[in-house]
């Protein structure tokens, strides 16, 4: 006997994600799901964000990592509350993991939550974790072919950060191609050229983030 079901395979995750999203929206906590390859500069972007916005906003971080607490230790040095999730080999965070991490955070008076996902351009794109926006970081050292090789994450992101822009003269990264491909995949995305090392473009990123906080509160 063949039974027609037409069930969404990721329905359970999406239900939990929607529940988290509703709670964060009610509290006015703008939440970013930060994505990108290992070594693209996600943690450096988080460090810059906290150090430059901590007097203006209350920011908390959830750090996804396979096994270590190296990133969480880096973030803790900046004095922001941070919760580590170790996926123990899992290639992405899911909504249930984020839900239990949220129980360890004081959400009162929080303005911004950044969820740094496991370094991976494929898997995390498919799993909502309750965020208001996905932001993907691509470093110029990775090559301009990555947007078309990993289209979903670039299509789903509200902002694309082209990081390590200071390395541009030392690479063969064809920035025009990268910009064309990203715009083709996702014309609405904010495309920001940043160097977390020199601080170039970081102001534009912070402006984008502040704008999103304001939009959520409206």
């Amino acid at each position: 006997m063949e039974i027609t079901v037409m069930s969404n395979i990721l329905e359970k995750n999406e239900e939990v994600a929607a529940e988290i999203n509703a709670m964060l929206t009610r509290r006015g906590i703008f939440t970013v799901n930060l994505l990108g390859s290992p070594g693209c500069g996600k943690t450096s972007l988080v460090e810059q964000t906290i150090s430059l916005l901590k007097n203006e906003f209350h920011i908390a971080i959830i750090e996804g990592d396979l096994y270590t607490s190296k990133d969480a230790d880096r973030i803790a040095a900046y004095g922001a509350p941070v919760v580590q999730i170790n996926t123990e080999g899992g290639c992405h965070l899911d909504a249930a993991m984020v839900k239990s991490a949220l129980n360890q955070l004081n959400l009162n008076e929080l303005d911004i939550l950044i969820i740094e996902n496991v370094g991976n351009l494929v898997c995390p794109a498919e799993f909502a974790v309750g965020e208001h926006a996905k932001v993907v970081v691509l470093s110029v050292a990775e090559g301009e072919d990555k947007p078309l090789k990993y289209p979903l994450v670039f299509r789903q992101s509200a902002a694309v950060i082209l990081n390590k822009i200071d390395l541009l003269p030392y690479t063969d990264f064809a920035i025009d191609c990268a910009v064309r491909d990203i715009s083709g995949l996702n014309p609405q995305a904010a495309l920001l050229q940043v160097s977390c090392r020199t601080g170039a473009g970081v102001t534009e990123w912070l402006e984008w983030l502040k704008q999103q906080v304001q939009l959520l509160r409206k």
Partner: protein, 113 residues
């Protein structure tokens, strides 16, 4: 390897459907997978086989149908396929394309006995 998490979702749906119909064995499961999900069918089959061991879906045949990426243009209203992930309307060139198909991750049907 997010295919493992997807395989677990498929198995959960299949098992709960079978239990709901008082079935004793799952013979086949039909799933549809959108092109943009980047799911590798071989990895999905491998993950499913590993997870299904020891359950009533152990010998189930998993058939995976890939759904191509298509979109609807908000400017001119036409529908077209989206090739090479370039979200431009084939009729008018506009980038205001909404995805119609290509994001699916669904269990269509479960065959039981």
């Amino acid at each position: 390897m997010h295919e493992l998490a997807i395989a677990q979702g498929i198995l959960d749906i299949a098992l709960s459907t079978a239990i709901g119909y008082n079935a004793t064995r799952i013979l086949g499961i039909k799933v549809i997978v959108g092109e943009l999900t980047g799911t590798v069918p071989e990895a999905l089959e491998f993950g499913f086989a590993a997870l299904a061991k020891g359950t009533m879906a152990e010998s189930a045949c998993l058939s995976i149908r890939i759904i191509p990426l298509t979109g609807h243009c908000r400017d001119c209203g036409s529908e077209s396929s989206i090739d090479k992930y370039s979200f431009a309307c084939a009729s008018c060139g506009s980038h205001a394309m909404e995805i119609i198909t290509g994001r699916e991750l669904k269990v269509e049907s479960v065959e039981v006995e």
